[in-house]
């Protein structure tokens, strides 16, 4: 369980190690005219200060929805949080009135989104949009807020910040726009930053710059970082821990190194096999067969069983571990590692050979 790469552990971790954020058995549904979509089904995780937790999963796995539930920005209706708790610094946000939740957004938890162009308001200058944080939460004057906006733009390394503060989002490049988003998100020194696919829309070289910036800012401020992504490379480079989501559930959780080198869930295993490996040149990539599940009709038993190459059905299965009928709970497989599979030990064992 020790981190092999010490460069990642530069963030100050509080001595008590108490989590800043604890998500506890979160359930989110979307009630639409054509049926109920079960987007998040009992997700739990926690985040300590300075920790980087990656949440990995395909589109529709519930990773973004759970993040938006934490932020309290789900559109309701159709979204309904049907159960669970979101504990931030000792209080359950879900029991708080809307006004209290609002005050947490920004100084407590803030978020950046995938597409900075559409996520920034096209009709206001970037300086105005960054400055809004200070005006809304600190009651600062327009002039002071603009000054702080310039400082922040400097801090996220936007060249000629003082000159560009009054420019509009469409006048910036993709990477610079994402920096504007980051500047806005870190304006009030949040305890937690949620980054929802922050680099997906960017060029590879710019991706690296933005991730470096995020890591540096985290090192300076000690904020916790939740990184939502489907990019295994990004997870491998920057995250401490990883939670893999499938069909609205966490199916595997552990340190990045453990999970990546020895997956304990067939889905994670499949993800790893579908990525080109430098060591395994010449081999064929193994895609995961089938389609992600329809969240309105999640398969019975283990939600992954229709696509799983290791499933055991009927008489093959051990008692109480029939993949199409028995739901596998997320359980401790080996110390520091949890997985939601009836046959995790096998997955681990095979891979270890």
């Amino acid at each position: 369980m020790t981190r092999p790469d010490l460069s990642k552990a530069t963030a100050p971790v509080p001595a008590d190690g108490r989590p800043v954020l604890e998500v506890d058995d979160l359930h989110v549904e979307f009630r639409t005219r054509s049926g109920v979509v079960h987007a998040v089904n009992g997700v739990s995780y926690s985040l300590t200060q300075g920790e980087t937790l990656a949440i990995l999963g395909e589109s529709g796995s519930g990773k973004s929805v759970s993040a938006q539930a934490i932020m309290g920005i789900l559109d309701s209706p159709p979204a309904v949080i049907t159960g669970g708790g979101i504990w931030f610094e000792g209080t359950d946000l879900l029991t708080q009135p809307e006004e209290e939740q609002r005050k947490v957004r920004g100084p407590g938890i803030s978020m950046i989104f995938q597409d900075a162009l559409s996520s920034l308001n096209p009709v206001y200058s970037v300086g105005f949009q960054i400055g809004e944080m200070f005006r809304a939460h600190r009651g600062m004057s327009k002039k002071d807020a603009r000054k702080r906006a310039i400082e922040l733009m400097d801090r996220v390394r936007i060249p000629a910040a003082a000159r560009r503060v009054d420019d509009f989002p469409h006048q910036f490049s993709g990477g610079m726009r994402q920096r504007v988003m980051i500047a806005m998100a870190i304006a009030l020194d949040p305890r937690i930053l949620i980054a929802d696919e922050p680099t997906t829309a960017l060029d590879v070289t710019v991706q690296a710059q933005v991730m470096d910036l995020l890591k540096d800012l985290q090192a300076e401020t000690g904020m916790g970082l939740i990184l939502i992504t489907h990019d295994l490379g990004v997870v491998n480079e920057v995250a401490d821990n990883v939670a893999v989501m499938y069909a609205g559930e966490i199916v595997e959780r552990g340190t990045v190194d453990d999970v990546f080198t020895r997956p304990a869930h067939p889905y994670t295993d499949g993800l790893m096999s579908s990525v080109p490996q430098v060591e395994a040149k010449g081999g064929r990539l193994q895609p995961i067969v089938g389609q992600p599940p329809n969240l309105a009709r999640i398969p019975s038993g283990c939600p992954f069983h229709p696509r799983c190459s290791r499933r055991r059905l009927g008489a093959e299965a051990a008692p109480g571990r029939e993949c199409s009928t028995d739901v596998p709970p997320l359980r401790l497989v080996v110390p520091g590692r949890e997985a939601a599979c009836h046959y995790s030990e096998e997955v681990l064992g095979v891979r270890a050979q």
Partner: protein
């Protein structure tokens, strides 16, 4: 919609969790995807009550225009008896009598035919003009496009009713049904032209038109086989709504005294004649007004429902 927009839409829907399965990549939609735009649109149309209200009203109106005697309850609109002048509606004569003592139900019912003919004729002329000018300007561009577009601007700058009044008063078309239809079309074709032109320009630069061109398809073939079919959906919506608008415009022109003339039977004439009797016999304005409104409503409702069905982005 470009691929990027499609992807954004998909992303938004997925992230907002509003996917119902149709747009989500995480759901197997192979079967649904094979359905064409039209059967998909029909599926939506079927479930839209506004469409059915409009369709039923439209059908009644159509039958009224074709076989008015059925709706007139046996009364002849021209068999009048002055002793019945301005009688109120009764169980026997549902719409009462007009000033000349003619059965008003029969008169109102017989008015449908002229409205329908003018509406259809005018929209036909508008479509021909709009498709022709729109396709030519959009497809060939250049000087021709500039000239015809300016010409469109000129017609567009003259208020619709105003232009039609002047045309009809100038008299070179006469004052019959065809004259009114053409007068309406002369100042009504510009929107159709712009619609077609923008569609043509959008599709012209698409990859599949480039592919067709690469395979040696001629201009005419590209225009007819690849470009115009794309304009069908918006033009259909526009046409449906426009028929309603034209029927209302005909009544207005006739009311103003520049459209149809007696002895033609027209709702505009009935409203115009009833105007001076509004205080004593409001039913003379009321009944043609109601039927006129329901007719216009039929087309606008159908058009609205069609738009909702054919444009997935507008769906609620």
């Amino acid at each position: 919609m470009t691929d990027q927009q499609q992807a954004d839409l998909l992303h938004d829907e997925v992230e907002a969790g509003t996917t119902t399965g149709l747009a989500s990549p995480s759901v197997d939609v192979t079967k649904e995807r094979q359905n064409s735009l039209w059967s998909d649109a029909w599926g939506h149309l079927k479930r839209n009550p506004l469409f059915w209200i409009g369709a039923v009203l439209g059908l009644v109106f159509l039958l009224m225009a074709i076989v008015p005697q059925v709706f007139a309850r046996g009364a002849d609109p021209r068999a009048c008896n002055l002793s019945n002048s301005q009688q109120k509606p009764s169980a026997e004569h549902w719409f009462g009598f007009d000033q000349q003592g003619c059965d008003y139900l029969a008169n109102v019912v017989y008015g449908a035919r002229n409205s329908l003919i003018i509406g259809l004729l005018a929209v036909l002329v508008i479509l021909v003009l709009g498709l022709l000018v729109g396709a030519v300007t959009g497809f060939y561009g250049g000087l021709l496009d500039s000239l015809l577009s300016r010409l469109t601007d000129i017609f567009y700058a003259v208020p619709f009713i105003l232009g039609a009044i002047v045309v009809l008063r100038s008299g070179f078309l006469g004052r019959g049904v065809a004259a009114v239809a053409v007068a309406l079309a002369i100042f009504g074709w510009m929107t159709a032209m712009r619609l077609v032109r923008s569609q043509v320009i959008a599709v012209k630069s698409s990859d599949y038109v480039a592919a067709a061109r690469a395979m040696g398809a001629s201009n005419g073939r590209i225009l007819i086989r690849h470009i115009l079919p794309n304009a069908v959906a918006p033009v259909l919506v526009y046409t449906t709504i426009t028929i309603g608008v034209l029927i209302a415009a005909e009544a207005t022109l006739t009311y103003l005294g520049v459209g149809l003339q007696r002895p033609a039977i027209s709702w505009g004439l009935q409203i115009s004649a009833g105007q001076s009797l509004l205080r004593t016999s409001p039913h003379l304005v009321l009944f043609p007004s109601i039927i006129l409104t329901l007719t216009v409503m039929a087309f606008i409702m159908m058009g609205d429902a069609l738009r909702d069905a054919l444009d997935p982005r507008q769906r609620a």
